[in-house]
């Protein structure tokens, strides 16, 4: 009988852990992310979710373990290199360029993809850049505020701007850290819709507290508690899991 060859996950961590002095923030974790998934990481506060994705994106260095992307060991690569490979992180608390216009915010992201050759760093065809920026803004619905200073946008729009910047980088893996936090209900459903559209091209790793969002979007869920993964599976499996109910009260 023919064996189905296991698909190499797009992203995986091997025994990835982080200790801050005496505090064990993340115990050795093996996370697998398949291409095309929307994987949600859920868990109570302090479970280590943001620390884990910060190690994946390169913002912080692991104490031990490895991160593999597309079959390649990227553990030693610094954050900016990982972005070039396609691992893009959006901030939990928006980190945009408040005093620059929305255009300039996205342009800085978009131009990264266009600056492959040395000459491109010096002279850039403005029209290509404008197209890329417009496309990214259109995907999140922010075309109408393109010339406004980013800091003056309402919070919900700032979160959308973060996502537009991430999209302009043409990510392969998009890590969204609590994207719906602070948004009004109608904004949340609009964002969910957009994330679904985006997921057709991009694999998504999502940290979320809002279970409705998780259940609507996720194709796979990983549950963390106290620095370790306590459950991993499809939404229905997780919903039925007792350990998850126990650890994550209010489920």
């Amino acid at each position: 009988m023919a064996e189905v060859a296991p698909m190499t996950p797009l992203l995986q961590t091997e025994a990835l852990s982080k200790r801050f002095g005496g505090l064990k923030a993340v115990l050795p974790v093996n996370l697998h992310l398949e291409q095309g998934e929307i994987r949600a990481i859920i868990g109570p506060n302090g479970a280590g979710k943001t620390t884990l994705v910060s190690m994946i994106s390169g913002r912080i260095n692991p104490t031990s373990g490895q991160v593999h992307f597309n079959g390649r060991d990227i553990t030693k690569l610094r954050a900016w290199r990982r972005v070039a490979l396609g691992v893009v992180y959006t901030f939990q608390i928006t980190s945009i360029f408040r005093d620059l216009t929305v255009y300039e915010n996205v342009a800085l992201a978009a131009q990264r993809r266009l600056m492959r050759r040395a000459l491109d760093r010096v002279v850039l065809r403005e029209t290509i850049l404008v197209d890329r920026v417009d496309a990214a803004l259109a995907e999140v619905g922010l075309e109408h505020v393109v010339d406004d200073p980013a800091g003056l946008l309402p919070y919900g729009h700032q979160k959308l701007l973060e996502i537009a910047m991430a999209l302009a980088l043409r990510p392969k893996v998009l890590i969204l850290d609590e994207p719906t936090q602070g948004l009004a209900p109608d904004e949340i459903s609009a964002l969910c819709q957009r994330i679904k559209e985006i997921s057709q091209e991009v694999t998504i790793l999502l940290i979320e507290h809002n279970m409705t969002v998780v259940l609507e979007l996720a194709t796979a869920i990983t549950v963390m508690d106290k620095g370790a993964i306590i459950a991993d599976g499809t939404p229905s499996e997780i919903e039925a899991d007792d350990r998850v109910q126990e650890a994550y009260l209010g489920l």
């Binding site: 994106s57 913002r59 610094r78 954050a79 900016w80 290199r81 972005v83 070039a84 893009v88 992180y89 901030f91 980190s95 945009i96 360029f97 408040r98 005093d99 620059l100 216009t101 255009y103 300039e104 342009a107 800085l108 992201a109 131009q111 990264r112 266009l114 600056m115 491109d120 760093r121 010096v122 002279v123 850039l124 403005e126 010339d147 910047m165 980088l169």
Partner: protein, 320 residues
């Protein structure tokens, strides 16, 4: 910014350069020398502005870049008999090396630490120039006239003692630096520098190696400063330790603050304003440094945007 105003912006800068060019024929000799001086020090300020205004890094050590150019040029003319072009090249080379070296070390820090580290390195450089006074003649310095051969270009001879030669050389350097800063701020590299200034971590996570960009910024900044130092020696025929002291690190900060950090024409406006303010006040009191001190305090409290910054916010938003 969308580039609709592209031509207007370029036009304004070009007009400024033309204005200065024409000025040499109409203004009296005293002011012509003043303006020559102003243009050279404005180049120094523009260099400083690249690091502070565009990249957001405040240094108190730029005197070492200015004086690297000054000494490289001065010493090669005085002791090795270099002609002006070769000496100028030596100055440029020295400033590139100096800024790269210092950058590799100092850019490992940021903020206040960066400020202190650059101040310390510059102070060490200054003290070294005093210590090696057998060569550099320390505070007294040395004079180049008599050592500097006239410039030979296409069969014509331009003597460095000629005030028109001085003026036009300074103008050429100034024009080149002005256009360079204009281009830089609107180029992809400039955009990254602004990103670093506004939010370095975010820029890093957009895929940019921010250390390399900061280093590039420092090298451009240091080289412009050194070019100014180099031309200073050639036109004013003098090189001395006092130009390496901390006061000469504070001057570009003052001029740029006064004119407007992060603007292209801010530096020359600030340099010119300060030059004339000192000139006028030294008729009243001998302690012009008091004016320097008072200006710094007043500016930082009430006008952190500087003269051009204020104009930009209020009336001309499109000014780079």
């Amino acid at each position: 910014m969308r580039h609709d105003r592209r031509n207007t912006i370029f036009g304004v800068h070009l007009a400024l350069i033309l204005l200065l060019f024409c000025a040499q024929f109409v203004i009296p000799p005293f002011h012509r020398t003043m303006v020559t001086r102003i243009m050279i020090f404005a180049t120094y300020s523009m260099g400083y502005n690249v690091l502070l205004g565009y990249t957001g890094l405040m240094s108190l050590g730029h005197a070492m870049f200015f004086s690297s150019g000054m000494y490289a040029t001065g010493l090669t003319v005085f002791y090795l008999g270099f002609g002006a072009p070769a000496a100028f090249m030596a100055g440029i080379l020295a400033s590139i090396l100096m800024s790269a070296l210092i950058g590799l070390i100092a850019l490992r820090t940021t903020g206040v630490s960066f400020l202190i580290v650059t101040m310390m390195f510059s102070q060490a450089f200054y003290l070294a120039s005093l210590h090696l006074n057998k060569i550099t003649k320390g505070d007294e310095g040395f004079i180049l006239s008599g050592h500097l051969r006239p410039l030979q270009l296409g069969g014509l001879e331009f003597a460095f003692s000629d005030p028109l030669v001085k003026f036009n050389l300074a103008l050429m350097l100034f024009a080149a630096s002005l256009l360079l800063s204009l281009w830089l701020i609107r180029s992809p590299i400039g955009r990254v520098l602004l990103g670093i200034r506004e939010n370095e971590e975010r820029t890093r996570l957009l895929g940019y190696n921010t250390f390399n960009y900061k280093l590039l910024s420092l090298i451009i900044s240091g080289t412009l400063s050194g070019a100014a130092g180099s031309l200073y020696t050639l036109t004013f025929s003098y090189a001395g330790s006092s130009l390496a002291s901390i006061l000469y690190s504070i001057y570009p900060l003052l001029w740029t603050l006064l004119g407007g950090i992060g603007t292209t024409i801010g530096p020359i406006v600030g340099t010119a304003a300060m030059a004339y303010m000192v000139d006028i006040s030294s008729g009243l009191t001998s302690s012009y440094l008091f004016v320097v001190g008072a200006m710094l305090v007043i500016l930082i409290i009430w006008f952190p945007g500087g003269l051009v910054g204020g104009i930009r916010t209020r009336w001309l938003r499109w000014l780079p």
